[in-house]
Amino acid sequence: MRTITYAKALNEALDESLQADEDVIIYGCDVGRWGGIFKITGGLQTKYGADRVFDSPISENVLVGAGVGAAVMGLRPVVELQFADFLITAGDEVFFKAGMWRFMHGGAFKVPMVLRLPSGETGAGPEHSACPEAYVMHSPGLLCCVPSTPADAKSLLKQAIQSDNPVMFFEHRRLYQQRGEIDDDAPLIPFGKAAIRREGRHVTIVAWQMMLNRALKAAETLAEEGIEVEIIDPRTLAPFDFDTILTSVKKTGACLVVEEGYRRLGVGAEIGARLFEEALPYLDRPFRRLAIPDVPISSIPALVNRIIPTVDQIVATVREMAA
């Protein structure tokens, strides 16, 4: 077991993938010479050459679209958009081309591409701060990863690059410097397998990435009060491991989803609706969601902190649920 940062884990996953498969290429704004604005691709151009790791123009539509084209012809492109928000800017290419090129041509193609999407609040306003996973999860044809730990980040990114399907890979910027243990001999984590990050019996919390950290912190406070939460990290949103949540909620009878995306029609909406569909007899207490309350994200910390769920809010909400 080693301890590395989430950023290093991503870099290693890219490095090992480039090493293992000549068809892997990496491109995006500033990913080459400079190693990326968040330094995830550092050192890779020097090691693998500018024909495999290279910079691009500021042209998000062709960045994503070319990924589809390259994938169709047998490469495994790993494309970085500098801000996850920009998947909206390349909407046609993400949702229609990556997500549906195979389908609309009746399965004639495979589209093994990965779109790396650094997400989370930056202080640079509503076009640079979102966690837009919900758009992806709503759209057919796309896989979606949301790793929360260095080990998951490395494993899921390698898996994503090996996948023959298009993968939207959300990396949370606030986790880049977070350290965690990693077992180099562990098998790759399969897509669609949630992790139970903490066991408990009173309330089930579903959370990932920065919200998972906050949920884990909240759980400690709550434990001191005798409230034991079970925390589930979905790890991938598509495919989505609903069964693990279902099993947990059948035990606890209560579910809270904490997410950094917009609340309305967010991931939590789907979880709530499915529980109501499949677990009604087990539901003791009303469903709860903590999420961004359907306003764009401001650029001032005090305002941003007002809308992103906090540890205190999680604690208070669970207290109410457990009362």
């Binding site: 062709v62 084209g69 389908f103 399965g107």
Partner: protein
């Protein structure tokens, strides 16, 4: 230009015309949906362009016509099956006539959103360049589609990377009901090549030799690592935007009909002595028979199961 090549272009253009006219009839009869955008007037150029390529050069196309597919020998039966929802199509009921695909023949499909294929072509160019396959990626699209932002992003990046791509804009003067002059700030789409430091070439879509020359030169340039070319084919749209378009917005229809490139080519083939009038008539009958057979074979194929709706989403 070799005589046999010219004759072959004529034969395939005629077959395309016969096929599409039959398609429109089938649409009227309700056998297939009326979603074909007839390529009448543009087939000669489309087929001449394909004739200048190698058989395995991948082709992306837009929605106008089936000349590209016929040129490459894609099964007409299969294309009809795509539209009629029968087994044996190229896209299993997913894409109809819009997304005909046959990678074994280098036919790589279409984006339903105009301009969406341009971005894909760039990645395809990156791949064949990296894999050193010697292929050239060719993308056909319309004048209207060239006003999408994807045109700019794609041509720029393809030029920067000196990708083996050839961009062929079939300028037929119209985007549905809107004339080019009202949507496009330049007379010649080819002039836009200037903004990407690549050659911009204009050819007459009624002149198959000129089309072949331009495409051959562009393909050679691409293959030798010098990067993309933008070719503008001055074309005419003989029919409506879609099969049943009344074209009530259009005053030039009768005028344009006088300049049907297929008629010009037919006259030329005869005047050059490549075929007699009678041989052309025989050829027409053969084309009709070939199309008839495709229709019958299609109709003999079983309908797709509705469950096919759930297939082909992911690997």
């Amino acid at each position: 230009m070799r005589n046999d090549v010219l004759a072959d272009i004529f034969r395939k253009s005629l077959l395309t015309r016969v096929f599409e006219d039959r398609f429109v009839k089938l649409a009227m009869e309700g056998v297939v949906p009326p979603l074909l955008h007839p390529g009448a007037g543009q087939e000669v150029a489309q087929i001449a362009a394909i004739a200048a390529l190698k058989d395995d050069d991948p082709v992306l196309y837009a929605h106008r016509g089936t000349g590209y597919m016929i040129a490459r020998g894609v099964s007409m039966r299969a294309m009809l099956a795509d539209c009629a929802g029968r087994a044996g199509g190229t896209n299993n009921g997913k894409g109809g006539i819009m997304h005909v695909v046959d990678t074994s023949k280098g036919i790589f499909g279409e984006s339903g959103t105009l301009g969406g294929g341009l971005v894909i072509s760039v990645g395809m160019g990156m791949a064949v360049k990296k894999k050193k396959t010697g292929q050239v990626v060719v993308h056909f699209f319309g004048d209207g589609g060239s006003n999408r932002g994807t045109f700019h992003e794609s041509l720029n990046w393809a030029a920067v990377q000196k990708l083996p791509c050839v961009y062929i804009c079939e300028n037929n003067g119209w985007a549905v009901s809107v004339p080019v002059s009202e949507s496009t700030a330049v007379e010649n789409i080819a002039d836009r090549a200037h903004g990407y430091g690549i050659p911009g070439v204009i050819v007459d879509g009624a002149d198959p030799a000129a089309v072949m020359d331009a495409v051959r030169t562009a393909a050679e340039r691409a293959r030798s690592g010098q990067g993309p070319t933008l070719i503008e084919i001055k074309a005419i749209r003989l029919r409506g935007h879609y099969a049943t378009d009344p074209q009530d917005y259009r005053a030039d229809a009768a005028e344009v009909a006088k300049n049907d490139p297929l008629e010009t080519l037919r006259a030329r083939v005869i005047s050059m002595g490549l075929m007699t009038e009678a041989e052309v008539e025989t050829l027409l009958t053969e084309c009709e028979a070939e199309v008839q057979q495709a229709v019958e074979e299609m109709q003999a194929s079983p309908p797709l199961s509705p469950e096919a709706a759930f297939e082909d989403v992911m690997v």
